[in-house]
């Protein structure tokens, strides 16, 4: 369950890559020109929106044609010297090792190169001129002015949003492999929502199938709300992966959500994200401190002190993560909120009962709940007839008595009589 499906079901062969048949064909022709030793272009630039199969195609093709893949993606540093060193070396060697060590150099998300990657584009162009290995660049926006020098030397291949039926088909395959029964409507709903982004569709599918063997339209209907939840996922993942307090704290500023709600999300997910006991103990203590400070802020109405709370609840969790091994674990909605709302009516009944008993026993509801009602339940269990009479003397309604009988594990002794009376 812990492997993300987008990795588990990454295409292994070119035929498995969904959609964009025309560009795929051209890409293969280009790669074959390299195989034959007469490359038409030094490099291709695959461009198009996220999640339509650009990187997947490169990976599948490398595998099919027996190339090693040397990859530099957006999260790596890509300054001029680094590109020259890593890419340059990878691109020029190769033949020394014989034909066995053919490589495809993949530079992912070149439009994402920042100011810090200074001279990166220039370095790429230089490497392209000299390369003896095929180079693939990908970008979401190929028309970014800073990429102009690349456009003239690369084979430009556009990848479009996938069609709904293409997405549905792939999702259905995955469900089949996972042994999940799924309604057509539900799949179409997910596919439509993804707007041709297969990666997000697969993520959605995995999210809704957590702990389910069968997915209906009802299970996926809440997905649109993920527009609201998704930023929370992003913020959470930023927090749990931050290396500094500053980064973790900054994550909060990216989203407009009530800090108390954000606290719940972090508090809920901390145990599954920080699996090492020491990391967890430290993180939970920091959260507890954040909570304590939060209660002081509220008590004293000193809102300017709220930053201590937010720093502890973000940074305090982030930097606690030391020994925990990196592993993708899905985030989930705060269980406490779900739990409280699911037992809301039960709590109301219990409180009403406790109030009645407390006022007659000259004590608090709290004491009634912890020190009196448990004994009453025992009496109900061992002597239901007597227990019910006892409760009636405390002016409990019959539905409240029924409720306590249920708690005591006694089948209702009142119900049949009541029914015959009411009819």
């Amino acid at each position: 369950m812990s492997i993300p499906w987008i990795i588990k079901y990454r295409p292994k062969r070119i035929e498995e890559v969904v959609g964009n048949e025309e560009s795929k064909k051209k890409f293969i022709e280009w790669l074959e020109s390299w195989v034959k030793g007469k490359p038409t272009y030094k490099a291709t630039l695959l461009y198009g929106p996220a999640g339509v199969g650009k990187t997947s195609l490169v990976e599948a093709a490398a595998r099919t044609y027996g190339y090693d893949l040397v990859e530099l993606n957006a999260s790596d540093q890509r300054g001029e010297s680094i590109i020259k060193r890593i890419v340059g070396v990878a691109a020029s060697q190769g033949t020394l090792m014989g034909s066995m060590s053919r490589r495809i150099i993949l530079l992912d998300e070149v439009d994402g190169m920042s100011e810090e990657d200074k001279g990166g584009v220039k370095a790429i162009v230089e490497v392209l001129e000299k390369t003896r290995q095929p180079i693939v660049l990908t970008a979401n926006d190929a028309w970014d002015p800073k990429l102009a020098p690349l456009r003239s030397v690369c084979l430009m291949l556009e990848f479009k949003r996938l069609k709904q039926w293409e997405v549905v088909k792939k999702l259905r395959e995955i469900c089949l492999r996972e042994g999940i029964e799924v309604d057509k409507e539900a799949l179409e709903f997910i596919a439509k929502r993804s707007e041709g982004d297969l990666r997000s569709a697969i993520n959605d599918l995995q999210t809704v199938s957590q702990g389910r063997r069968r997915i209906t339209i009802d299970d996926v209907k809440w997905l649109p709300y993920r527009n609201r939840i998704e930023p929370i996922f992003d913020v959470l993942s930023m927090i749990f992966n931050a290396k500094t307090v500053a980064t973790a704290r900054r994550a909060l500023s990216l989203i407009d959500v009530d800090p108390d709600m954000m606290f719940e999300w972090i508090y809920e997910n901390t145990p599954s994200q920080l699996t090492d006991p020491r990391d967890l103990a430290i993180a939970m203590e920091n959260l507890a401190k954040a909570d304590l400070f939060r209660s002081r802020v509220k008590l004293l109405q000193r809102w300017e002190l709220l930053s201590f709370v937010t720093e502890l609840m973000t940074g305090g969790v982030a930097v606690a993560k030391e020994a925990t091994k990196s592993k993708w674990t899905p985030f989930h909605f705060p269980e406490r909120i779900k739990f409280l709302s699911s037992i809301k009516s039960e709590r109301e009944v219990m409180n009403s009962i406790a109030s009645k008993i407390a006022s007659r026993c000259l004590t608090s509801r709290r004491t009634a709940l912890s020190d009196i009602i448990p004994y009453i339940l025992f009496i109900l269990r061992s002597n239901p007839d007597y227990g019910v009479k006892l409760l009636k003397s405390y002016d409990l309604t019959s539905s409240e008595i029924e409720f306590l009988l249920g708690k005591a594990g006694v089948a209702s002794i009142e119900a049949p009589r009541k029914r015959s009376r009411s009819t």
Binding site: A281, T363, R365, R366, D371, F378, I379, S393
Partner: protein
């Protein structure tokens, strides 16, 4: 009051003393309170002591003896842990205290139970209210710990310290109930009850009544059966899960205890405290855990979130568990 009252009532209520003369324990306190009745004057009072030692009962008996059978017209009892905020208390007090009494006693009595649950600020507000209505109203504050009551209130009240009941007093009281209810209680049964109740008479009587509902002589084993069912090992179980490293499961049990069973966080802390001694960990680790538990308890008293705080303790427990596991 409904038809069933009296015959079907919790014994703790049915046999609760109505007058100061009926009170079996806290002899010195009772004597002092009787003086108030004789002179028909009294100061503000602070009743401090553990639960089930007669604080509330003494207040009722005092009012009964002062005002007579219909004492409730001149007597109001509030519970600080149930009322939402000091403002509610102030308004209620104002409405109650401003009308004069129709008896020969020139004041009314207001009891504020569990006053140590009020924050220091709320206690300050309460102090001012007490002063304003001193002419028409006497306050009896009850609390478990007098040191949780702010100095200015302590210095304005006569402090009465209630002590846990002795076994002899408890046994005598239980025997009286058993005779009236025609229930058989052995001495070892009574000892078992006392051992569990720890001087808390309400608890002792509740255990007695629950045991009696089984319809057989109350011996020690019967008592332990009752207590085992009423206070299952949920807290210990929660701690065991944490110690084994299953933090998530342990947090789920905590939620059940807090939200479904309605236990107060501080009560859970109290139970965890006594369970720490039973854990198979080093003595040093026990000290460390007790230290942390004390911190957690203090934070909860300061208004921090019960679940979050106790969770932090459970995470610490999981860490200890890995070391010794």
């Amino acid at each position: 009051m409904s038809l069933y009252a009296k015959e079907y009532e919790l014994w703790a209520e049915k046999y609760r003393p109505r007058t100061l003369d009926e009170m079996v324990n806290q002899k010195e306190i009772v004597e002092r309170l009787k003086k108030f009745v004789e002179t028909k004057t009294m100061p503000h009072c602070l009743f401090a002591g553990p639960p089930g030692t007669g604080k509330t009962t003494a207040a009722h008996c005092l009012a009964h003896d002062l005002f007579g059978e219909n004492y409730r017209e001149n007597f109001l009892e509030l519970n600080a842990s149930d009322e939402r905020g000091i403002d509610v208390i102030r308004t209620t007090v104002k409405n109650f205290a401003r009308s004069a009494t129709l008896t020969e006693v020139p004041f009314k009595i207001l009891v504020l139970d569990e006053a140590d649950n009020l924050t220091a600020d709320a206690q300050q507000a309460l102090r001012r209210t007490m002063e304003r209505y001193t002419d028409t109203c006497r306050f009896i504050l009850s609390c478990n710990y007098s040191n949780r009551i702010i100095e200015p209130i302590q210095s304005r009240t006569a402090i009465f310290r209630f002590t846990p009941l002795s076994f002899e007093d408890t046994y005598a009281y239980l025997k009286r109930i058993c005779n009236a209810e025609r229930v058989q209680l052995t001495e070892d049964g009574a000892k078992a009850i006392y051992e569990v109740a720890e001087g808390d008479l309400r608890k002792a009587v509740n255990i007695l009544q629950a045991s009696a509902s089984l319809g057989k002589p109350i011996v020690a084993d019967v008592v332990y059966d009752v207590v085992g069912w009423v206070h299952p090992r949920e807290v210990a179980e929660m701690m065991e899960y944490a110690l084994k490293g299953d933090f998530t499961k342990s947090r789920m049990l905590l939620r059940m205890l807090l939200y479904q069973r309605g236990y107060a966080g501080s009560d859970i802390v109290k139970r965890m405290h006594s369970s720490v001694y039973e854990l198979s960990i080093s003595e040093k680790q026990k000290v460390d855990l007790i230290n942390y538990l004390g911190e957690i308890d203090f934070r909860i008293a300061q208004g921090a979130d019960e679940e979050v705080q106790i969770s932090a303790f459970l995470a610490r427990l999981a860490l200890v568990g890995r070391g010794s596991g």
